[in-house]
């Protein structure tokens, strides 16, 4: 047992997550106006710094909020006490130092030059050390449970282990054997990013199922169906990443494996269609009006899961992938799933926990709903324009042999509007973040 401390560990992570998201959207808004509104000849050099800041801290938001959610719900769900509060504090500080190192590196022009993990090795070391604390603390806490774990604890455990693997894999390029081989390096790099995304999805989807149980009493987390989808998800995480690398001149079996595994996601889509009306079922809402805020976020999530799944399935079909690869459709895929799915769950989880320790005035609630509506509407607009622009570019490139500048000319009007949508999205998330901070500051520990 650890002595009570004034601050619940979840609180710290929720604060850090909010701070990261704020940084990410500021950099993102600044960067997107370059993509959308710059004309040829404008200086876009700041993009070299803005993009890594945006990506790193958006990913940090996802991990930190998911970890906050795990510390908020894991002990309660398993009816055990946290193994060590001190380790959560250490984890927090190590991540904080990593974040400062990464940001300082970006601002002074020190990059690893890699897509998602663009910080240099000192930041990587601190992340690894912080993750080590999390690993030990998570498993030592979960092991205390005498009952079999519900599926979401398995999902969290999987996320914790998979991140460890992919984080190592994503650094293999530092070894000459990988560095010297162009195709091997690209192939391993994108394999590791698939696993990275998969690992945070395990944490986030686990939180989603946990929340459905906690706020809605939908106790399906030990059913065969729940485990079936967990296994299916894990199989996809491990083997279904390669729709990003269909175009690499790599061994044929890798593409076929990935294609085959990706197609199993149709099952997920069918099941979702079967249950699609559930999140909007009025009876459930009436049963627990106190949970309306998290419920709304979860309802939005399920809509976004559907939209993103359709897109992901389509771009995994090789012939369609010819047109979508290397276009803004990939960007739509990333934005739709990180904001529409991941962030909706994380906001829902965070708010559910905070509101169980705080109250919401009418004015604040209205404010929160306006942020919620704006975020979802503008995200939808942004998403659709990116899909449209990407489809056009793909068609132009494959069919009409467009050069880069021809494509730019054709897409300019669409990107212009994408820029406005992104600004609306920025404001929506900003409002949600203000609600996040103000409710968090009043939540009892």
């Amino acid at each position: 047992m650890t002595p009570p401390s004034p601050r619940h560990p979840a609180t710290r992570f929720f604060w850090a997550a909010g701070g990261s998201l704020l940084l990410a959207i500021l950099a993102g808004a600044w960067a997107i106006q370059m993509l959308a509104w710059s004309s040829p000849g404008d200086s876009i050099e700041a993009f070299i710094q803005l993009r890594p800041i945006h990506v790193t801290f958006a990913v940090a938001w996802i991990f930190l909020a998911a970890i906050g959610g795990i510390w908020a719900y894991l002990p309660k769900a398993l009816n055990v006490s946290l193994y060590s509060r001190r380790l959560t504090q250490m984890q927090g500080w190590l991540f904080f130092i990593a974040g400062v190192l990464a940001l300082a590196g970006y601002l002074t022009g020190n990059f690893s030059g890699r897509e998602y993990l663009n910080f240099t090795w000192p930041a990587s070391l601190f992340i690894a050390a912080g993750w080590g604390c999390f690993f030990v603390n998570f498993f030592s806490t979960a092991r205390k449970s005498t009952k079999p774990w519900p599926v979401y604890v398995w999902m969290w455990a999987t996320g914790v282990v998979m991140f460890t693997w992919t984080f190592i894999e994503a650094h293999l390029w530092m070894l000459p054997w990988f560095e010297e081989a162009p195709v091997r390096d690209l192939s391993v790099q994108w394999k590791s990013y698939g696993g990275l995304t998969g690992s945070w999805n395990m944490l986030v989807y686990g939180l989603l199922i946990c929340l459905l149980e906690q706020i809605g009493g939908e106790g399906a987390s030990r059913s065969r169906k729940a485990f079936f989808f967990y296994w299916l998800g894990l199989t996809n995480l491990m083997f279904g990443y390669a729709h990003h690398t269909y175009h690499l001149p790599q061994a044929e079996w890798i593409r076929w494996m990935s294609f085959g595994i990706s197609m199993t996601e149709w099952v997920v889509l069918l099941s979702l269609i079967q249950d699609w009306a559930q999140p909007w079922n009025r009876e459930i809402w009436k049963k627990s009006p106190a949970h309306r805020v998290p419920r709304a976020f979860l309802a939005a999530t399920s809509a976004w899961v559907g939209i993103n799944l359709v897109l992901a399935l389509l771009i995994s079909i090789p012939t369609l992938n010819w047109f979508t690869h290397g276009t803004t459709i990939t960007l739509a895929h990333a934005m739709g799933s990180t904001i529409g799915i991941n962030s909706m769950v994380l906001f829902g989880g965070g708010f559910a926990w905070m509101l169980s320790r705080s109250t919401l005035s009418r004015g604040q609630e209205k404010y929160l709903w306006s942020g919620f509506a704006m975020t979802n509407l503008f995200l939808l607009g942004f998403f659709l324009i990116l899909v449209l622009a990407g489809g056009m570019k793909g068609l132009g490139m494959v069919q009409s042999d467009w050069s880069f500048s021809e494509a730019q000319d054709h897409l300019a009007p669409m990107l212009y509007w994408a820029g406005w949508m992104a600004m609306g999205l920025f404001l929506g998330v900003l409002i949600l973040l203000f609600s996040w901070f103000s409710i968090l500051s009043r939540a009892k520990s």
Partner: protein, 150 residues
């Protein structure tokens, strides 16, 4: 907390869970080893020359990836550079890196860095072709493709 329905149902799920996770883990390790061993289909372009490796390090240091792609993967602010050298030639490629062009910034790189970068880009281009400009498109992009300019 919802209590387990019957201990036997839970036990059977746990048993299955252990088996499936073990199978997936073994499969994943084997698959990963397979991916690590694959160096691509163009065997003569399987590794960079030492100069190419130097160029690659400069590419990483200068963070060119935020705007550029290889095989369609990377940032979208600039063009895909997979086959840029066979498209423009070494001279012009080096010229663009040296002086910048349009929105491409002049990064004030020393001449030897520009040379290494050009060699790196050239060797990258020998590994395959992107994008595939074929109409109508096929199923998977062909892996054995004539390189542009060859």
């Amino acid at each position: 907390m919802s209590a387990p329905k019957t201990p036997s149902a839970d036990d059977s799920i746990s048993r299955w869970n252990r088996r499936i996770l073990a199978t997936l883990a073994v499969g994943f390790v084997v698959m990963s080893a397979g991916v690590f061993l694959d160096t691509g289909v163009q065997q003569e372009a399987a590794t960079f020359s030492p100069e190419g490796v130097t160029g690659k390090r400069i590419w990483l240091r200068e963070n060119c990836m935020v705007c550029h792609q290889f095989y369609g993967m990377g940032g979208y602010l600039g063009p895909d550079l997979t086959n840029v050298v066979s498209r423009l030639g070494s001279e012009t490629t080096a010229w663009v890196i040296r002086n910048g062009r349009g929105s491409m910034p002049n990064l004030n790189l020393p001449e030897e860095d520009i040379r290494s970068l050009t060699i790196f880009l050239e060797e990258m281009g020998e590994t395959g072709t992107f994008p595939q400009k074929t109409w109508p498109p096929g199923w998977f992009p062909p892996v054995h493709q004539p390189l542009p300019g060859s």
